[in-house]
């Protein structure tokens, strides 16, 4: 069997000072008392390197909430892994930044919720935007690969030009603009987040223009919402093919959201070796390859490109993790997507009169909570 977990996603903690309405963490968060220790994480990093993993993505929650973050960065790097920190920035100081860079951090991804303070803070449920801008300036002074991540949605997609200009001022090497994906905390907020078709079409043009203008200066990657795609995404490059996620309590998952699928047992790194988990465990083999597929995927020409789409989305929307991802235009249950799109593309919306976020009362959102 030739699959290699090229990337390790290390969810160091689910604690986070932000409460973003589209957080991709599971709704069932891991308690801080169950978090892996420093030594246990170091063992994970060495085990992953032994399996051929190249990149370690240290994330959360907010990874800086771990008191031992400098040691963890050093551990991942000395295991030979390329070390990336995915952070809101909260908890970072100039000193802490220098320490984690000295420990071997190679890439830092700083998240922003918007270009405007008020809108950003409304999404995050916390007053953090101003601090992030200061941190971006500190990061840019250092010799490190710097990516800014901004999530876009119905409420800010019409201001994409402004968002790109905002990022330009902070001079990251790369700007990742991603539409919300409907897992975790985003699903209950979907009606308010899913853009209109016109918004998505315009955004693609805006991005193409900006990419041309900024070529060689700032790279822009754009993730469109899969609800508007004709075929599903090859989620995580295929189940159990390229990626392994370890959650704060040591459970190994094939992706961020797999915990929602009932009946799966996720092995724990406290009990099993990473090698056994990757190669032998039932859960990593569950949707590997094509044998599990049902029609129309089983005989579809695209099955080795998109692997039937996302298992978690299939479960969340149809109640059956074996089903074809309903975003696929060929899926028997594609009407579930069509109905949602209809709801979010009512005639009033075609004029571009999408409801600005500030007019949405905070009480109307489902905010991510903090684990106990």
């Amino acid at each position: 069997m030739s699959f290699v977990p090229l990337a390790l996603i290390a969810e160091l903690t689910h604690r986070c000072p932000l409460h973003c309405v589209y957080c991709s963490n599971p709704v069932e968060l891991q308690k801080s008392a169950l978090e892996l220790s420093t030594d246990e994480w170091q063992q994970v990093f060495r085990g992953a390197a032994g399996l051929g993993t190249l990149h370690a993505h240290l994330t959360g929650g907010e990874p800086l909430a771990r008191q031992d973050i400098v040691e963890l960065v050093a551990g991942a790097r000395s295991a030979g892994l390329y070390t990336n920190l995915i952070t809101s920035g909260i908890g970072l100081s100039e000193k802490k930044l220098e320490d984690i860079l000295a420990a071997g951090l190679e890439h830092i991804q700083l998240s922003f919720q918007d270009s405007r303070e008020e809108a950003a803070n409304a999404i995050a449920g916390a007053r953090t935007h101003g601090l992030k801008v200061e941190l971006a300036r500190l990061i840019r002074k250092q010799r490190v690969a710097f990516t800014m991540n901004i999530v876009v949605h119905r409420g800010n997609l019409d201001r994409l030009d402004e968002i790109i200009e905002f990022a330009e001022q902070l001079q990251p090497d790369r700007l990742e603009i991603a539409n919300v994906q409907y897992y975790g905390w985003a699903l209950p907020n979907r009606d308010a987040l899913l853009p209109t078709r016109a918004q998505v079409e315009n955004s693609v043009l805006t991005i193409a223009k900006a990419q041309e203008r900024l070529r060689g200066k700032m790279r822009i990657d754009y993730v469109v919402p899969d609800y508007y795609a004709r075929y599903p995404k090859a989620c995580m490059g295929g189940w159990g093919r390229r990626l392994m996620l370890i959650d704060p309590a040591g459970r190994a998952l094939p992706c961020h959201a797999a915990g929602v699928i009932p009946g799966l047992h996720f092995p724990n790194v406290r009990e099993r070796s990473l090698e056994w988990i990757w190669r032998e465990s039932a859960v990593f083999n569950k949707f590997r390859g094509e044998d599990w597929m049902m029609e129309p995927c089983r005989t579809c020409d695209r099955r080795s490109e998109d692997y039937g789409g996302c298992r978690c989305q299939a479960f969340l929307l149809t109640g059956d993790a074996m089903a074809t991802d309903p975003v696929c235009s060929l899926a028997p249950q594609h009407a579930l997507i069509e109905n949602q799109l209809q709801k979010n593309n009512l005639p009033a919306d075609d004029s571009g009169s999408t409801q600005p976020l500030r007019e949405r009362a905070n009480s109307a959102w489902t905010y991510r909570v903090n684990p106990t």
């Binding site: 390329y82 990336n84 090497d173 060689g216």
Partner: protein, 92 residues
């Protein structure tokens, strides 16, 4: 996009580094993945250590290939490095 000047000292950009050698292949790790570098590209990139100037690199490549057409080597190295700079893999 500017081509490297003779006195510039090309090197891997921040967040890019050589991976440890395995099965003889040479790989550069970058923020979003890894690229395998082969042939002439590998020779060029292995000389970009931030110490050598671009002129020195061209000279060394010339003796490596025992070629006489310096302009051709210069052009190839220059195009290659320009492309990698655009992808933020090389600095000069």
């Amino acid at each position: 996009m500017a081509i490297p000047e003779d006195d510039s000292r090309p090197r891997l950009a921040p967040g890019c580094r050589w991976a440890e050698a395995s099965n003889g292949e040479r790989t550069v790790l970058v923020p979003e993945g890894a690229i395998v570098v082969k042939g002439t590209g590998r020779d060029i990139l292995e000389h970009c250590d931030g110490q050598r100037t671009f002129a020195e690199i061209v000279q060394e490549l010339q003796s490596l290939y025992t070629l006489t057409d310096v302009q051709k080597i210069r052009k190839e190295a220059s195009n290659f490095l320009e492309q990698l700079r655009e992808k933020r893999i090389v600095d000069f």
